[in-house]
């Protein structure tokens, strides 16, 4: 009996901790319910697990054609020329006097590439690319950076599985890091 009571008390404490975080106040009854269809339509953010990635697929060959048509005017014919951000190259440059931060040299997740191209590119017509086109462009840019080979087909399964070269080179903000003290 005593042990059961103690177990119950433990369970009660655990339940209290869980249910009291993070918020506790009663809802005010504001807002309207969002339908699953509506949420699906708006939910374009692609997390690192790629759960929100849509059906579709593409590879570097198709992506190269699209890149030339839609991207090269700003990012250069091979992604290295600019004038807008350089997308290709830079691996090995991050510790040099001229660090070059590109998709291949710097980005952590391939899902970010899909997310950003789909929501914000091309700059003169954001949101105008279809999922197949975005997969293809992502494949082209990853292939140009040596991350995948030219025949790899990217889709909602293969894209999130890619391990970007620089993935493990990030760490959480350690500041304050500069030990400035008032002068004597």
């Amino acid at each position: 009996m005593f042990e059961q009571g103690l177990a119950g008390l433990h369970a009660g404490i655990i339940f209290w901790c869980l249910s009291s975080t993070p918020v506790a106040a009663q809802p005010l009854g504001l807002g309207t319910s969002a339908s699953a269809d509506f949420v699906a339509q708006w939910d374009i953010a692609i997390g690192p697990r790629g759960e929100e990635l849509p059906p579709g697929q593409g590879s570097a060959a198709e992506g190269q054609r699209l890149y030339v048509q839609r991207c090269a005017m700003c990012h250069g014919i091979t992604g290295r020329e600019g004038p807008d951000p350089v997308l290709v190259g830079g691996q090995g440059s991050l510790t040099t006097q001229r660090p070059l931060l590109t998709i291949g040299s710097f980005w952590r997740y391939a899902t970010t590439l899909y997310d950003y191209i789909y929501r914000a590119m091309p700059f003169n017509a954001p949101g105008s690319l279809e999922p197949d086109e975005v997969y293809a462009l992502a494949a082209y840019l990853l292939n140009a950076n040596g991350v995948i080979d030219r025949t790899t087909v990217l889709d909602r399964e293969t894209l999130p599985a890619i391990v970007m070269p620089n993935r493990d080179q990030f760490y959480p903000d350690p500041r304050p890091d500069v030990g400035a003290q008032p002068g004597s």
């Binding site: 993070p22 106040a25 005010l28 953010a45 997390g47 710097f106 970010t112 002068g183």
Partner: protein
């Protein structure tokens, strides 16, 4: 803006005698425009009629400075800190950093979706949001790129170009905590992904802990609705964090169990270190201060009394004290802090000073309530190298030459 008063003799003068050269300019204009008398007399006719929405005097011309860029919709404009008084930035002069231009949003058709790891996925109209308990708070907002050109050496021509990506407003809205509570955050949640309705659909991940602490869903700025360039009709306002996380034109909050590593928190807004690794989610804007008068581009036209004036701020809390050096950094004097001294807010400081007419370097140094002390550029470079970009908060030195001209050094 510089405030002017007219004394009994009719002479216009600077109430705080900070820009005496302006007095000279004004007198020159007065003589030139006079019709027989030395100074303009506006008492002999009716002035302009009343107007329903005001604007500044035609004699006031300060404006934001826009960084030249290939795309005019993806650049920054800088607040003219050297010409501002007090701590509030006029809404029309608040700095801007946009990634896809300023959308033109009818508030009647704007919605905020709250979904993800919540009990109830909810859609809010602006009218819905305004029914939540309201609050307001004066706090600064600073772009993490404020001062980026200064990392390696002094380059900005004036304080607008060195520090103008910080501004301070009275923000009004509702707490994000209340709105999240309405949806019912599930226990496994730890982040909130915020998305804007602009042409970049700007997206950042915010720690849930911060969201429940002090994040605001803001619809008001300095007593009226947000300006379009500040996110009208709704923006996130994350006190003390780098400005880009305060997503403007907010349309969606997705509650998640992971940050989403968006482009604006991986490719950009991360801090590359000399060892080739990079810091991520470096949110807090650390303590900083700058003397806004005298500052680069300004001129002290004669020796004698000058008030040194500036602003200080910290993303970690209140400014505790500000020291000013008027002897090339050899010694530091405590400046007067002008209240209110609010947490995560611009704080005005002043120090009376007699300039003897000789060349000198002046600087300010901020201490916040956590004990943090604003570092030198050398100290920052020693830890973060010379290729860092964001979060530059070094002590700013201004050199006054023997002609009274002020330079960025």
């Amino acid at each position: 803006m510089v405030s002017w008063v007219v004394d009994e003799s009719g002479l216009a003068m600077n109430q705080r005698r900070k820009f005496l050269h302006r007095l000279r300019n004004l007198l020159t204009v007065g003589f030139a425009a006079g019709t027989g008398s030395a100074l303009a007399d506006t008492t002999k006719s009716q002035g302009a009629p009343l107007r329903e929405y005001g604007s500044r005097s035609r004699f006031e011309t300060i404006k934001r400075w826009i960084t030249p860029a290939r795309w005019p919709t993806s650049t920054a404009s800088w607040t003219p800190l050297g010409e501002l008084e007090g701590i509030i930035t006029p809404s029309a002069l608040h700095y801007e950093r946009h990634h896809g231009g300023v959308p033109d949003i009818d508030p009647a058709s704007h919605r905020l979706l709250v979904h993800g790891l919540v009990e109830r996925e909810l859609l809010f109209s602006m009218a819905d949001l305004k029914r939540f308990p309201s609050m307001h708070r004066i706090c600064f907002l600073e772009c993490s790129g404020n001062g980026y050109p200064e990392w390696q050496k002094a380059v900005g021509a004036n304080v607008q170009q060195t520090h103008g990506l910080t501004s301070c407003s009275d923000w009004a809205g509702v707490t994000l905590k209340d709105v999240l509570n309405e949806a019912g955050v599930l226990s496994e949640a730890s982040w909130v992904v915020a998305e804007g309705a602009d042409g970049a659909a700007m997206t950042r991940s915010v720690p849930l802990e911060k969201c429940l602490q002090d994040v605001i869903l803001a619809y008001g700025q300095n007593g009226e609705a947000l300006r379009p360039e500040q996110g009208y009709p709704l923006r996130l306002l994350v006190p003390g964090f780098e400005g880009s996380i305060s997503v403007k034109w907010l349309r969606r909050l997705k509650v998640t169990d992971t940050p989403y590593y968006t482009r604006e928190e991986t490719s950009k807004y991360t801090d590359l270190m000399p060892d080739g690794r990079a810091r991520e989610f470096s949110f807090v804007m650390e303590a900083k201060s700058v003397i806004t008068a005298p500052s680069a581009g300004q001129v002290l036209y004669q020796p004698g009394f000058h008030e040194i004036s500036g602003i200080a701020w910290s993303g970690r809390g209140r400014v505790k004290r500000v020291e000013v050096s008027v002897d090339n950094g050899e010694s530091w004097r405590e400046a007067r802090l002008h209240g209110p001294v609010l947490p995560i807010c611009h704080t005005r400081f002043t120090l009376p000073w007699e300039w003897d007419g000789s060349e000198v370097t002046i600087a300010s140094r901020c201490h916040d309530e956590t004990g943090y002390v604003q570092p030198t550029r050398t100290a920052l470079q020693a830890v973060r190298g010379k290729h860092s970009f964001y979060h530059f908060n070094a002590i700013q030195n201004w050199r006054i030459d023997s002609q009274g001209r002020v330079h960025n050094v």
